[in-house]
Symmetry: C2
Subunit: 503 residues, 2 copies
C-alpha cells in the first residue's frame, strides 16, 4: 500500500512527462506554422499524430487510471492544489477514456475531409459541397456527447471540454438578455446616422515599422520576451511550449494598421496569462489557463478594454504619430480613437467591432445547438443563418461564403467552442471593473503607459492560479460575483454613447 | 506464434514511433540553438531529458528486446534491408541495455560539470581546473567500455558507437603511414618558404550578401530548400528533423569570408546525405547516415574536394566578384584560390587547412587512447599535447587554452569520436576518385557549375543506402576497395605541389 506522499510523487512525475510530451507537440505545431519547410508537411503530420497517440496512451493507461482512483479515495485536502491537479487530470482522462478509439479515428478522418470540403465550398460559394460533411461531423459529435455526457444535454458534454462547468442552460440565461441589449445598442447607433471613417487606419503602414511597434506594444503591456517571441503566421495564435516559453504570432497587412497591432495585443494577452501562472504549477495539470473563456478574457481585456480605450491612446498616440508621421499627419487623437472603434453592421466575425461581436457569436451558438439537437436540418442552415444576421445585425449575407461558410470551426469539429468568445468578452469587462475598483488610478496609469498595476492585479486574481479553480469559482473570488453581462453592457453603453452621441 | 510478416509489421510500427520521438527531440534541440528565448533554457533541458528517457525506455523495453530476438531467430533474408534494420536496432538496443542506468546518470552529471569546468579552464587558461573532471570522465568512459565491450580493446567499444565496425588496430594501421606522409608534406611546404596571403578573405564582407551567397551555393550543390532551411547559430550544424526536413545552420563573420561560405558547403554536404536516403528507409533504423566517418566524407567532399578546388572557382569566381566587387577588385582567380587553400602550421583544429587537419586529429586520437588505457596520466596531458604539436605540426602551443583545452569533445564524453573526422577526409577522396573514374567530365561539370552528375553518383553509391550497409561494405561497393589513405594523400600531393611549387 503506497502512502499518499508516494502516490502524489508518482502522479507528479507522470504529469511532468505528459507536460513535456505536450510541449514537444506544441513546438512541432508552432514550427509547422512558422519555419517548417513546405516539403516537410506530411512527415510533420505523422510526427504530431505519433506524439498525440503516445499522450493518449499514457493518459488512458490503467496505471494512470488506478493512480487517479487511489488519489481520489485518499485523504487529500479537498481544497488544496494537489486535489485540483487530480480533478483536472481526471477530467482529461475521462474524456480520453470515454471516447472510443473508433470514434476518435472517425472524427479525425471526417474532420479532415470536412475541412477540405469546407475550403472548397467557401471558395466556390457552394454550401451543398459542405452540407453532407457537416451533417456527418454533427452526427459524430452527437456520438461523442453521448459517450462522455452524464445524461444532461448533449451540448453540455461538448462545451465542458472548452469551458469546464458551463451548461447550455446557464449560457442561455446569460445570452438572452445580452442579445436584446446588444441588438438595441447597435440599432440606436445606426439610428444616429453617425459614420466614423476608418480610412486613416487603411493608409500604407510599412511592415518593418509595424513590427517594431508590435514588439514595443507587447513589451509595454508586460509580455516577457525573455520567455517568449513574436513571429509571423497566416493565422495568429499564442502557444505555450512549456511554462517558460510562451510564443505569439501576428500577421502584418501593409495597408491596414489594425490587423497586426490589435492582433498582437490580443495574443500578448493570451500569452501573459500563461506567463503569469505560478511556478509551482509548472509541469502539472494546473499549468494552463482555467478555460477558453477565461483565456479569451485576458486577450480581449488587453486588446479592447486597454488597447482600444481613450486613455490608452491619449498616452500612446504621440509615439504612434512619431512612428508614422506622414500617415498620421493632421489626424486628431479623437478621430483616430473613433476610427479604431468604428461600428458597422458587419458580416464577418473576425472583423467585427465590440458592439457587434457577441451577436456574431450568438448566431453561431443558437445554430450549433439547434443542429446538434436535430431541431435544424443542415440543409436549412443557410436560411437560418441569414435570417438571424438580418434580425440581430441588420445585414443579409450576399453569399454563403460571407455567411455560414466563413468559419472553419464546425468543419474541424469545434462544436460548443464559439460561446467561449462571448464569455471572454463578458469576463474581460467584469475583471476590468474589479481591477478598477481595486486600483483607483488605473485610467491614469494606462494613460501614462504604466500597465504594471493592472497586470499585477490580473496576476494576483486570475493568472497565477492557472487551472487551480474552476472558471466560476475563480470569477467569484476575483470579482465577488458570478458571471454576469452587466459590466460588459455598461462598458459598451458608456464607451459607445460617447463615441456616437447617444442619450 | 506470430508470422514473420507480423513480427516485421510490429517492428516497423515501433521503429516509426521511435523515429518520430527522435524527430521531436531533434526539433527541440534545433530550436534551442536557433529561436528559443533565453529564459526557456532550463525548461527545454527538462523536455529533452524526458523525451530521451522515453526513447531509452522504449528501446530497452522487454517487448522490443523479445521482438528483436524473434526476428534474429527468424528466416529473414540475411542480405535484405529488413535484416539490416534489425541489425541496426540491435546495435542501439544493446548499447542502451548494457550501460546501467546508474552509469548513464553519472555520465550525464559528470559531463555537465566537466563542461562547465572546461569552459572556465579554457577562458582562464588553467588546465588544473579541468584535470580532475577530465580524469573522472575517462574513468566513467572506461566503465562504459567495459559494460558494452566484447572483450576487445576498450577503445573499440567506444568508437563503435560512432563508426560501426572500426577498431583501434585498423585505425592505427591507417593512421601510422598517414602521419608520416602528412608531416613530410607539411614540412616540404614550409621548406619552400612560399607564403600565400589570405588577406583578401579577411576584408569586409557584408553579412546580407554573404547570406545570399551561402543560400545560392548550397542550392547550386543540390541542397533542397523545399525540405530544409538555413539558419544562423554560434556553432554550425546539420540536423534531420525527420527524413523530409533536414536543416543546416551557419555562422557569419563580417570580416572573414571562409567561416560562413565553406561552413555552409560543409553542412550542406551533411544534409544532402540525409536528403538522399531512399524514401523506403524513412522512419526505420536505416534512415540515417551509415556512420560519422561516412557522414563527414560527404561534408568534406563538398567543402574541400569541390568547394576549395580550382575548377570550382574557375566557374564560381566571376559571380563571387560580382557579389563583392570592391572587396575583390583586382584579385586574380589564382590568388583567391591560393588564399582559400593557404597552408600554415596551425594551432587550432577548426581553423586548419587540409594538409594539417588530419595531424590535429592524430594528436587527439593518440592521446585519448593513451588516457583511456591509462598509459598517460591526465596531469601529463598538456606536455604530451605540446610535444606532439611540435613534432607533427611544427608549432608549440603558447598556452593550454590554445592547446589541449581547445575542444569540448572530451569534456562531454566524446571519446573515440575524433578519428571519424580523419576517416571522413580519407573517404571523401576515395569516393571522389571513384566518382571521377565513373564520370570523365566531372571536372568540366564542376567548372560549369553543374553538380548534378556528382550528386547523382553519390546518391546512387552512398546516400540512398542510409545505414543499410556497414561503412566498410559500403565503401567497397562504392569504390571497389576498403578504406585506404592513398587517394587522399595523392589528392593532397597533387593539389599542394601545384599550389606551392613542390617537386
Amino acid at each position: 500500500m503506497s502512502t499518499l506522499r508516494e502516490l502524489l510523487e508518482r502522479f507528479k512525475v507522470e504529469a511532468g512527462i505528459l507536460s513535456d510530451l505536450a510541449a514537444a507537440a506544441d513546438l512541432l505545431s508552432w514550427d509547422q506554422d512558422t519555419y517548417m519547410p513546405a516539403g516537410a508537411a506530411s512527415g510533420r503530420g505523422q510526427q504530431l499524430a505519433t506524439i498525440h497517440s503516445l499522450l493518449h496512451a499514457r493518459i488512458t493507461d490503467d496505471r494512470m487510471v488506478d493512480l487517479l482512483a487511489d488519489l481520489e479515495a485518499s485523504d487529500l485536502d479537498p481544497r488544496g492544489a494537489d486535489r485540483a491537479m487530480v480533478r483536472e487530470a481526471r477530467r482529461v482522462a475521462d474524456r480520453a477514456k470515454l471516447v472510443p478509439a473508433r470514434l476518435v479515428e472517425e472524427l479525425a478522418k471526417r474532420t479532415s475531409s470536412a475541412r477540405v470540403a469546407w475550403s472548397q465550398a467557401r471558395s466556390e460559394n457552394r454550401f451543398e459541397l459542405f452540407a453532407p460533411e457537416l451533417a456527418a461531423v454533427f452526427e459524430l459529435k452527437r456520438e461523442e456527447a453521448d459517450a462522455v455526457g452524464r445524461g444532461g444535454p448533449r451540448y453540455d458534454a461538448l462545451i465542458d471540454e472548452f469551458e469546464p462547468g458551463a451548461t447550455v442552460a446557464g449560457i442561455k440565461e446569460l445570452f438572452d438578455p445580452l442579445r436584446a441589449e446588444q441588438v438595441a445598442l447597435l440599432e440606436s447607433i445606426a439610428a444616429t446616422g453617425v459614420q466614423h471613417s476608418d480610412a486613416v487606419l487603411k493608409r500604407n503602414y510599412p511592415v518593418s515599422t509595424q513590427r517594431e511597434l508590435c514588439r514595443a506594444t507587447a513589451a509595454s503591456f508586460g509580455y516577457d520576451f525573455e520567455h517568449g517571441r513574436l513571429d509571423e503566421t497566416l493565422h495568429p495564435f499564442a502557444i505555450a511550449i512549456g511554462a517558460t516559453d510562451v510564443r505569439i504570432t501576428t500577421r502584418y497587412d501593409e495597408n491596414f494598421l489594425n490587423t497586426a497591432l490589435f492582433g498582437t495585443m490580443h495574443e500578448a494577452g493570451h500569452a501573459m496569462y500563461e506567463q503569469g501562472i505560478a511556478p509551482e504549477y509548472r509541469r502539472t495539470p494546473l499549468g494552463h489557463g482555467a478555460s477558453l473563456g477565461v483565456h479569451e478574457s485576458q486577450s480581449r481585456l488587453w486588446e479592447n478594454l486597454v488597447g482600444r480605450s481613450l486613455p490608452y491612446w491619449e498616452g500612446a498616440f504621440p509615439a504612434l504619430r512619431a512612428a508614422f508621421p506622414s500617415q498620421l499627419a493632421g489626424v486628431a487623437l479623437r478621430d483616430f480613437y473613433a476610427a479604431a472603434n468604428r461600428v458597422e453592421n458587419s458580416l464577418i466575425r473576425v472583423e467585427a467591432d465590440e458592439v457587434s461581436y457577441n451577436l456574431h457569436i450568438l448566431v453561431r451558438f443558437e445554430l450549433e445547438l439547434a443542429l446538434l439537437d436535430g431541431d435544424l436540418a443542415v440543409a436549412d442552415l443557410p436560411d437560418a443563418w441569414n435570417e438571424r444576421y438580418r434580425d440581430y445585425l441588420g445585414v443579409t449575407p450576399p453569399s454563403d461564403a460571407l455567411g455560414c461558410l466563413q468559419d472553419i470551426h464546425w468543419a474541424v469539429g469545434l462544436i460548443g467552442y464559439f460561446p467561449t468568445y462571448a464569455i471572454g468578452n463578458l469576463v474581460s469587462a467584469q475583471l476590468f471593473e474589479a481591477a478598477k475598483a481595486a486600483t483607483p488610478t488605473l485610467e491614469d496609469d494606462i494613460r501614462a503607459g504604466d500597465f504594471s498595476g493592472l497586470l499585477a492585479w490580473l496576476r494576483e486574481n486570475v493568472q497565477r492560479h492557472g487551472s487551480r479553480y474552476r472558471p466560476a469559482e475563480l470569477l467569484v473570488a476575483a470579482t465577488g460575483k458570478g458571471l454576469t453581462a452587466a459590466p460588459y453592457l455598461a462598458y459598451l453603453r458608456g464607451k459607445y454613447s460617447d463615441l456616437y452621441g447617444l442619450r
